[in-house]
């Protein structure tokens, strides 16, 4: 993955992002397990004549959800270690993913607009998510300290304006 990384100043997202990832996974797993329990109850799990397909599907879902939850500390570590970003004069580069890892180059002259979002969990930890939109897709820095988020948004928008003013492609 070094081929696109010949730039400097790679920055990590704040360490509290690890707690956010863990908390999100716990909430997600809890919701999934409650959902499974509700579906089981509605479908008459306690009845003797329950459909035969219920057992294997439930087992698969529970194994996947619990497995996902148990491996979350490892996933979080890998994801946090790899989730970095680099903002230089001409481009924003994002590295994300825990198993399938991706590196995305976003030339700043392709940026359409930037927005920030702060859900309840991120707000609790004083973090903000920044999303950079191009004409066709969007790319997210999952968490930054709110002040850093404001600063990075300002830097990107200023640079984009400079580039627009200079013309070019």
């Amino acid at each position: 993955m070094d081929d696109m990384s010949d730039t400097n100043a790679w920055k990590h997202v704040p360490p509290s992002m690890r707690k956010v990832l863990m908390l999100r996974q716990v909430c997600q797993s809890a919701i999934t397990l409650i959902g499974i329990a509700v579906v089981l109850f509605i479908s008459g799990w306690y009845k003797a004549d329950r459909p035969q397909w219920v057992l294997p599907i439930v087992v698969l879902l529970v194994v996947y959800t619990v497995g996902d939850l148990l491996t979350q500390p490892l996933q979080t570590k890998w994801e946090y270690d790899f989730h970095t970003y680099c903002l230089n004069e001409n481009e924003l580069i994002l590295k994300k993913g825990w198993l399938w890892r991706s590196t995305t180059v976003i030339p700043l002259n392709r940026v359409q607009n930037i927005d920030s979002e702060q859900g309840p969990i991120l707000r609790f930890f004083g973090l903000t998510q920044v999303t950079v939109h191009t004409a066709v897709d969007k790319h997210t820095i999952d968490a930054l300290y709110t002040a850093d988020a404001q600063e990075i948004m300002q830097r990107i928008s200023q640079r984009v304006q400079q580039m627009r003013a200079m013309g070019g492609e």
Partner: protein, 591 residues
């Protein structure tokens, strides 16, 4: 936090007019109508049969729904604020999930307004500010005063004018740097020439067609250009370093072609349309659809007809293989004829012409439908072929545009079909004639995945083995028919074939000043996508850790195309190719 405070000081946030609350409440009703309807219907239908507890539950549900409806509208109104400054529009909203959007004036694609009847007395309207290509980031200001809207529009137009001026200035400066000696005798002629190509000669003749002269109809795709009319203009270039678009050396020059306000580029012949219909595999799928339709509604068919049909089929089945084969052949023939007739209607009088700065597609027998696409809206061109058409040396051409064009029948799949079917040997000359700006040529392609077949085959093979094993267990456990094993195996073979075709076909070519051609597949359709660097928005390299040691990655490029192919994936390539592509993309910011 200092920057935060600074931003807060600079911006004057304004809240929407209170009439926005009415709009939000109306929208809330539209969103919740299904839920409200269910509760009301349930309450009415079963009122007498319900116990007190059920009625209480319904009442609580009703109160929660109404409270949610009012809270949603109120919170949206309270938290939504906007600010217009010298650079653009800021917008923030959200109670739990806060959202902050800033759109610079230069990025605004469209500003539109609408006014509901209840907003008129207050001189308030709804403004929609959209950015190109991305609907999700568009802003809608539900109720702002007409005066604010006018100011907004004025600022936008001022910025647009300034932006265009700065671009012109930059282009002029670059032009002066590159070619200080270059001059043209006539600006009008310069514009015409600039859409054609680089001038390497001191004197160049361009035949200009008198638009009043009837165009000679060339029934075939034109390979050499159609010269119509007799007025001639001479363009004199005093230097060899003209700053007009350059082309790769192996691109056949079309500078001697007639370029005019109207060029007949392609006209579909009857034989073309028939070949298109017969090589369109979708007509085979229609047989399945017909059968499915019959299976679904056979109980609606009168019993006598149903019995008669069954008797005939049974009789045919017992008559031997020849009769069965003839029967199948007859069914296929009927469907093929139906497909040809429908396609003939669809592409009757189909023609593509270049008219000034527009590509004009027209078709139809009784009523002629015409779609005019400004060339500046064309973002990409894709040449596609199915395996069947490839064997016959045929292909079709689609355009990717930046805005909605040619909706309805003119769109095939996701793209805008400009040439339904054409011989591959003719396609490049035809496209160079009608779309010289896109610089389409049969460039040599670097096939990036040949030799990396295992990266394409591993997932389908492993998945097929796992699913087949699971299916075998399920068949044994539930005592199902062993024939069901065919399904995962067939799906696996299909998937593997698709992946291997991708591995054989995927590749790219960087050519010209800023052009890229990407070869890829979509199931069993092969495509060649031609676009420019500016249309490639982002490049993503990805790989699992175990690919890293082999220096192999997957690459995905997002392309600014509203229709047609908007994302290109090359599933496995060497990192040296990734580097070449990323460097090529990065060059766009150095000017």
């Amino acid at each position: 936090m200092s920057s935060n405070n600074q931003m807060a000081v600079q911006q004057h946030w304004q809240r929407l007019h209170w009439i926005a609350l009415i709009t939000l409440l109306i929208r809330g009703v539209k969103q919740l109508y299904a839920l409200i309807g269910i509760i009301v219907l349930q309450a009415i239908n079963t009122f007498d049969k319900q116990t007190t507890i059920s009625k209480l539950v319904l009442l609580i549900l009703g109160i929660i729904t109404v409270s949610f409806w009012i809270f949603q509208a109120l919170s949206a109104w309270i938290t939504t604020q906007y600010s217009v400054d010298a650079n653009g529009i800021s917008y923030r909203s959200g109670f739990f999930n806060k959202k902050h959007v800033f759109i610079p004036f230069e990025q605004i694609h469209v500003i539109a307004s609408s006014q509901s009847w209840y907003c008129k007395p207050f001189s308030v309207l709804t403004a929609s500010i959209s950015v190109a290509g991305d609907d999700k980031t568009s802003i809608q200001l539900l109720a702002i005063s007409e005066q604010t809207y006018q100011q907004l529009e004025q600022s936008y137009h001022e910025h647009s004018a300034k932006h265009k001026q700065s671009h012109t200035d930059t282009a002029t400066e670059n032009s002066e740097l590159l070619s200080s000696q270059h001059s043209l005798s006539n600006s009008l002629e310069y514009n015409k020439l600039s859409t054609i190509g680089k001038s390497n000669t001191n004197t160049e003749e361009v035949t200009v067609i008198d638009t009043n002269t009837p165009v000679r109809e060339d029934k075939n795709a034109i390979t050499g250009g159609t010269v119509v009319g007799n007025s001639t203009a001479t363009i004199i270039s005093t230097g060899n370093n003209a700053t007009l678009p350059t082309y790769p050396s192996n691109v056949p020059s079309y500078k001697n072609n007639a370029y005019s306000s109207q060029i007949a580029g392609y006209r579909a012949k009857i034989s073309d349309i028939i070949v298109f219909a017969l090589t369109d595999v979708r007509w085979l799928a229609s047989v399945m659809v017909l059968y499915g339709f019959y299976s679904e509604y056979n109980d609606k068919v009168p019993r006598s007809i149903h019995n008669w049909a069954n008797t005939q089929v049974d009789a045919a089945m017992h008559a031997g293989w020849i009769i069965i084969s003839l029967l199948v052949f007859a069914v296929l023939l009927i469907v093929a004829i139906a497909s040809v007739i429908l396609t003939l209607f669809r592409f009757a009088n189909f023609s593509v012409t270049r008219n000034g700065n527009n590509i004009v597609i027209s078709r139809g027998i009784l009523s002629v439908r015409t779609v005019s696409i400004p060339v500046e809206h064309i973002q990409s061109v894709s040449i596609r072929t199915t395996l069947l058409r490839r064997c016959l040396g045929l292909c079709s051409v689609q355009l990717g545009t930046s805005a909605t064009q040619g909706v309805g029948d003119d769109q095939v799949g996701n793209g805008l079909e400009v040439i339904p079917v054409i011989a591959r040997s003719r396609v490049f000359n035809t496209l160079q004639l009608i779309l010289p700006e896109i610089e389409i040529n049969d460039v040599p392609v670097r096939y990036t995945a040949r030799g990396l077949y295992r990266y394409y085959a591993t997932v389908p093979v492993v998945s097929t083995i796992v699913v087949s094993a699971g299916s075998a267990v399920a068949i044994w456990y539930w005592d199902l028919s062993a024939w069901l094993m065919i399904l995962p195996i067939f799906a696996g073979i299909w998937w593997l074939a698709v992946r291997l075709l991708s591995a054989y076909s995927e590749g790219y070519a960087l050519y010209g000043k800023d052009r890229i051609c990407v070869h890829g597949t979509s199931v069993f359709t092969l495509y060649e996508l031609y676009t420019s660097r500016m249309r490639v928005e982002t490049l993503t390299q990805s790989a699992p850790p175990w690919w890293g040691s082999k220096a192999i990655s997957r690459v995905e490029m997002q392309i600014f195309v509203k229709h047609d192919i908007s994302s290109v994936t090359l599933r496995a390539m060497h990192n040296s190719d990734v580097y070449a592509l990323s460097q090529w993309l990065r060059e766009s910011v150095y000017f």
